[in-house]
């Protein structure tokens, strides 16, 4: 269990940032993961008083504060409008309501955990990470960066909602970590497929340009799923082997894609999940 010597509730992002530059200090998100670390922390920095717990529509798109909880992601109406059932599908089974009332979006994204449902979905959605000092970084770049001492303030989702979004995962038990995750977003100019819990960090599939902006035939969906299985690196842990995960990549990619194109008009939000 973690040992914490001091607690400081930041009055401003600048104060939080300054405190966070000290080795031995840690930023406090939902604390669910921090709690498990064996290190001792000098000062934990609480940014829960800085109004970062809102989901807002802005001129640039949807702006989600770093302290937005997973429970908010699951229930917020703006997100239902934006992504159909995909948000709920991605986070609605994570441990339990009491857990999701604490766990934060910022913590999930900063952690870039291999098992992260949140990272998988937000990658598929083309999210941008807003950092206090560094400014904006596309999540697809941020996901590959090493841990640093900047502060995530918000995540931005593009103003135009995807034509369709779908999220699929497989799990040993309903509330367990995923065995594999797959998020798909169909845009008029792009097709995004993110695969996570490989068990490494989620990544976006490349080479999908030719499938962008149109309704896909069944054979094409199978083709993409096979491509995903052939290119996404997988590994083994206690929950499953690399071979099994590669099998799941193909299954879940195909399923998520089919869900995206199920509606007659070619696209629709993932309402059936």
């Amino acid at each position: 269990m973690i040992g914490i010597r001091d607690y400081k509730k930041a009055a401003s992002l600048e104060e939080a940032y300054q405190l966070n530059q000290k080795r031995g200090n840690r930023l406090l998100g939902g604390m669910l993961w921090l709690k498990l670390s064996r290190n001792s922390v000098q000062t934990v920095i609480d940014i829960s008083g800085l109004g970062l717990d809102k989901i807002e529509e802005t001129g640039e798109g949807l702006r989600l504060g770093a302290m937005v909880t997973l429970r908010q992601l699951e229930l917020d109406e703006k997100l239902v409008t934006y992504g159909g059932g995909a948000f709920r599908e991605a986070v609605g089974r994570i441990v339990g309501v009491q857990f999701r009332n604490l766990a934060t979006l910022g913590g999930s994204i900063y952690g870039r955990f291999g098992f992260s449902d949140v990272l998988t979905l937000f990658l598929a959605l083309d999210a941008t990470v807003c950092l206090y000092k560094r400014g904006r970084v596309p999540l697809r770049d941020y996901a590959a960066l090493p841990y640093d001492r900047d502060i995530i303030t918000h995540l931005l989702l593009p103003k135009a909602a995807p034509l369709a979004v779908a999220y699929r995962s497989a799990r040993l038990t309903e509330t367990d970590f995923p065995l594999l995750t797959c998020g798909c977003a169909v845009r008029s100019d792009a097709l995004n497929i993110a695969v996570g819990a490989r068990p490494g960090r989620a990544l976006l599939l490349s080479g999908l340009e030719k499938y962008a902006g149109r309704k896909l035939k069944d054979e094409e969906i199978e083709e993409i799923a096979a491509h995903a299985a052939a290119t996404v690196p997988t590994g083994s842990n206690t929950r499953g082997s690399a071979a099994y995960r590669t099998h799941l990549v193909q299954v879940l990619c195909a399923r998520a894609l089919r869900a995206c194109f199920r509606k007659e008009d070619g696209c629709g939000a993932d309402a059936d999940s």
């Binding site: 497989a170 799990r171 038990t173 309903e174 509330t175 970590f177 099994y244 099998h247 299954v251």
Partner: protein, 762 residues
Amino acid sequence: MKIVNTSVPKKDALQLLTGQPVYTDDLAPKDCLIVRLLRSPYASAIVKSVNKKAALLIPDIEAVYTWEDLPADAKRFTLAGQTYPEPSPHDHLILDRRLRYVGDPVAIVAGRNEAAVEKALALIKVEYEVLEPLLDPTVAKDNKIIVHPEDDWEALCPVGADNKRNLCAHAESNAGDIEATLADCDIVLDRTYHTKAVQQCMMETYRTFCTIDTYGRLVITGATQVPFHVRRIVALALGIPKSKVRVIKPRIGGGFGAKQTCVSEVYPALVTWLTKKPSKIVFSRYECMTASSPRHETHMRVRLGAMKDGRIRGIDMYAVSNTGAYGDHGPTTVDLTGHKPITLYRTESYRFVADVVYTNNMPAGAYRGYGAPQGMFAVESAVNELAALLGMDAFLLREKNIIHEGDYLPSYYGETNTSCALDRCLARAKELSGWEEKGLCRKLQNGKVRALGMAMAMQGSAIPYLDVGGATLRLGDEGTYNLLIGASDMGTGCDTILAQIAAEVLECDLDAVSVFGVDTDASPYDSGSYASSTTYLTGQAVYQAAAELRRRLTLLAAKLLKCEADEIIFDGKKAAKIDGSGALTLAELAVASQAGNDVALDVTASTKSTASPPPFMVGVAEVDIDTETGEVRPVHYYGVVDCGTCINPNLAKVQTEGGIVQGIGMALSENVTYAPDGRVYENSLMQYKIPSRLDNGRLTVVFEPSYEKSGPFGAKSIGELVINTPGPAIAAAIANAVGARFYELPVTPEQVAMAAAARKKK
């Protein structure tokens, strides 16, 4: 019957549901020393030296003990809560120089607060001589690595143990000539099965606090199913007289057999005995998952001989049970692995051979079912496979072969099947589950496959000629009663059930019976709550005590009314003369019993049993299988149970439902696996997945009672039986969906998906 066979709420229900402070850690004195253990990071090692100087310099540290602090002549003991002399070998010391698994205690630290203790743990310097561990039970027997090479290792009972061969026990039993039978069968199915270790995961981890009382005695308060055994074991471990030890059991947050092993008691006991200060230990969940007493991992080879018409003629089983680093419950659990499942069938012959082996894994112990779930998975899976081979319905195959009431049971110690509704359970389960209408396997619109599978099970009720049930009943003021018991209510509701039996005999309201348990100074001796014994055996003790108390009430009334006892009729409220010429209310009798009275209205009864009447169950699993991802989700489980008379139908039902869901966990998601260095991977509830309420589907449980004449009001046991069927039933359902068989528990999504994919390719 007015109170027996009714679903009264548990006597402690509202206290528990409103969160009252009734558990060990709620009751511990605030000034308790905090006790924690430094545990071995190696699966096999010798402690070369321990430097505790730095730890002892911390101001709030009271004591640090290592193997050097134990008396040189400390005797080995077993942590298994069993009747003395225990079948489990005496192979433990409180602290040993040789460490036998990752987690074996190296040092005990006691301090005035958590922070100091944690700091001290980090400052103890230990020099280890690291040895090569033995981690594979299948090669443990006669391996060159010996887990218990010490000369003072001792097996008190003839269980075929030999520490120099890594044998905790070896057992053989048979009836008829199994080889001749199998040679004469049309079909001999020869299969190997494997069940992994699984954890009890009671919500309250192991915990104990100790104090010294007015008389200088050691008082141990803790979560235990076996207070009287704890008293004996701790006295032996500390080398002090048993008269110096008193054990109190408050409410327990679940047991399931885990607390039939003395996992946490000896450490604070040592601290308090040596320092004379109160102390407590509360196991973390991490400790509970890595250094506890899970179910024995078991490898089983089954040979099942049958004729083409479905007649099962012989069952041969060889089991290797992995007891891990210590032999707690090793020799006895394996017995059930063979005898319970084999006994379900009328065969011409059987044989059961077992080796219980030591390894450098976490020590195993008692867990609900006590060896039976492993064997039930093997035999019931084999029978299900036989049904498929024969093209015969799994129910029909059972109907042809099951034992019936009145049968002589050669594989069950030669007992007679005195009460048995197994045939009715089969019929009811088939109907209830819609077995015939639904079909074994159908495709759903969402692409999943819904499949059915079934299994049968039996267990025992108490250990014959060994277990002792005890009850004291006493008339108190105002005509109410006190019932004192030595059996541990661990949440199952035995306090209430036993009070129901007393109230039925005494014809009083349930509220008129106050229950007290357990305090080894005040409770009558009872072996404890295990081996499915409490309702059946302690229930008989309560029945007898109540009947005797009735007789004595009549005697006192006769004295007071100046007549013969047989002229008195007692109806629970008053004792009246038959001719109507006089009567005393119970309250008047109670008052009279406290003035110039020499008729003791305080009765203790003690019972043993001469048989272990089996309860029976049939389970049907209805399961959704995603054949592509391999995810398996039970949607409905149907259980039909013969536990004799249900003393409290609600509590029997909830027992069954809880057991089914634990069985579902064992079937699908619960797993203990080891890293190459002997560390347990599933070391938390984050990694070890017990079912949440989204993982078990709906449950339907009904009863088909027989009447067991030797039990109280016809009751048998229920607690353990109910965990047995999900493993084989779910494995069968998956097989029916995928077309491939599974020989290991848990059946993982990976196994299912890969089997289905391989079949698709063909």
